[in-house]
Amino acid sequence: MKRLLALSTAIALGASGAMADTKIGMITTLSGGGAGLGIDVRDGFMLAIAQAGRDDVEVVIEDDQRKPDIAVQLADKMIQSEKVDIMTGIIWSNLAMAVVPSAVNQGVFYLSPNAGPSALAGKGCHENYFNVAWQNDNLHEAAGAYANGTGYENSFILAPNYPAGKDALTGYKRFFEGEIANEIYTQLGQTDYAAEIAQIRASGADSVFFFLPGGMGISFLKQYADSGVDLPVVGPAFSFDQGILQAVGGAALGVVNTSQWSKDIDNATNAAFVESFAAEYGRLPSLYASQGFDTANLILSALDKASADDAGAFRDALRAADFDSTRGDFAFGPNNHPVQTIYAREVIQEGDVFTNKTLGVALANHSDAYAGNCNM
């Protein structure tokens, strides 16, 4: 593993040359459970760096193994001995909470390509912390809004018992106007949902909302499809991204999910991104890859205007978000979190490949509920 990391770092070094002016430290999850997400973020990010063809940007990549203590050690090393200017890459909210506050207080810029815990969007916001993905609640809020539009009146909702799971149910309930038939917190990492599915069957709900990222969602959907319960399901894109859809298979067909990105969003940047990502890595990009790609392009756009050493000018350049996003329009709100459109997508099959098709807008130009608490 060490050697592999050293190798990827060496490749990054080789690609960017030894005379780098700007050093970017990426800490992400490349091994253990959930490595697929980190790999997608890294690949999307490095694709943008490679396409820019700049030799003054150096990227150092390290694997946090999804462990907060390791992420903290890596961050200390990057800030103190590698002297990075910008950090990025963390996937999980609990790791972000361990790393981001201390990093930005040491004067480093942090751009989140995924995690968006509410604590960093409200009171804990910071002028050097930018979120390029979403605030954690956003996609769930959009799912609630979509459920209203579809006429669902009684939802059964479930999520794992950890901070992002609570953010998810809070987000859904914030926008959903119907009743909640039952609210269940499952164990994090749970693989068998027979008991919950039996409760859904007995609940009398007319729809199911769930947030079960990664393998948990695969298990739930397969078991749900096999159970004979046929209530419609809505959820955030995390259980329906390109990386795991193939493992869910036909069980996900027709499920509506909410995402700020989809591979069929119609703009030139996105089309070029999807094509070049597939050509480079031999697989379709996921929303995580698009977030990595956008993060890198945001950094590059700011570097065109100012050096990262000139913190004030560089911060203003980041805040301007003057780059071509794969999502189309992209702007930062007052707490440096995105104001963006969130779409409803449906899982479809194209040939042998399961993927998503955009149905329409779930929430237009959506900000987050915590921006008001942020005083920068």
Partner: protein, 306 residues
């Protein structure tokens, strides 16, 4: 809470317990016969699931996939027994834990190297998919009923193997006095390889069967491994019967606890807090069960020695 829901949950608990038994049976045999703590048992579960997913993807046949899972896990088990485990029988338990933990890391990264980081697809075969209606109007997935049947068949097979065959006599003798049966001319190292491969094959079978309704991904074995250890501690180390009873107890406790404890707390708490407290207590339920059993019988329900 209707009777149908309760019966359905009992079936769910039973099915979960029987899958745990497939894991625990191998673990308890290996621990009982060889005195070896094998943390890598969960990796063999993963090997079975990946082999099944690969073969099902290539051939489309679920039965071939199960055969592949059995074979791959048994071969992987035999290889690690011969290459690594054999050197550990005389070592302290801590050395065994260290070495088999290293095996977990090697298997996980090796699997990622071969199959990539993304979960694989393995689905229930069409002839076992969908629900059936049981007497009393319970709708229950056919596949889960099949899992219960397969698990019971394996339990009967293991009982027959240990109680009625020559190999079984040797296994039981090896548990009691390994020097003596070596002195009687039994090739003890061959017996150990065989037991290890058998335990591995059972883990691989469980991985493949469960993989079809869960996700086939790196690291899938470790959560099951922890519960399997709880099962063999409850059942008594080395006892197949204990593993069976323990597994069903743990399966039922875990499933029914998760449903009824929050409901119970709702009787005298407000719903939000009741769900939180109930869920928290439910995740502890199997460990509380384990402590109670150990207070009552320190060697486990059917254990001969501590």
């Amino acid at each position: 809470m209707s009777t149908i829901l309760i019966l359905e949950q009992v079936l769910n608990g039973l099915q979960f317990g029987i899958m745990l038994f497939l894991m625990a049976a191998g673990l308890t045999l290996i621990f009982g016969v060889m005195g070896l703590i094998n943390l890598a048992h969960g990796s063999l579960y993963m090997v079975g699931a990946f082999a099944a997913a690969a073969v099902a993807g290539a051939t489309g046949s679920f039965l071939l996939a199960l055969a592949a899972a059995l074979a791959a896990a048994a071969v992987a088990g035999a290889i690690i027994e011969i290459v690594v485990i054999r050197r550990l029988y005389r070592a302290a338990h801590l050395d065994q834990v260290l070495a088999t933990f290293a095996l977990i890391l090697i298997f996980s990264e090796g699997t990622r190297w071969v199959f990539g980081s993304f979960p694989l697809f393995l689905d229930v075969p069409s002839y076992l998919s969908g629900p059936v209606t049981l007497p009393g109007g319970i709708q229950y997935p056919l596949y889960r009923l099949a899992l219960i049947a397969v698990g019971l068949a394996v339990a009967v097979f293991l009982w027959w193997l240990t109680a009625r065959t020559r190999i079984g006599i040797q296994i039981r003798a090896g548990e009691n006095d390994r020097e003596m049966i070596a002195a009687l001319g039994v090739d003890i190292s061959r017996l150990y390889t065989l037991v290890f491969a058998l335990g591995a094959a059972l883990a691989g079978l469980a991985g493949a069967l469960v993989g079809a309704i869960q996700s086939v991904q790196v690291g899938m074995g470790e959560p099951v491994l922890i519960l399997a250890f709880v099962v063999i501690v409850i059942g008594g180390i080395g006892s197949i019967k204990g593993a069976f009873i323990g597994a069903v107890l743990v399966g039922l406790t875990d499933t029914l606890g998760g449903i009824f404890l929050p409901e119970l707390f709702k009787l005298f708490m407000e719903p939000g807090a009741a769900t939180q407290t109930g869920s928290a207590l439910a995740s502890m339920a199997v460990y509380i069960l384990m402590s109670l059993v150990l207070i009552w019988r320190p060697t486990g329900l059917f254990g001969a020695r501590a």
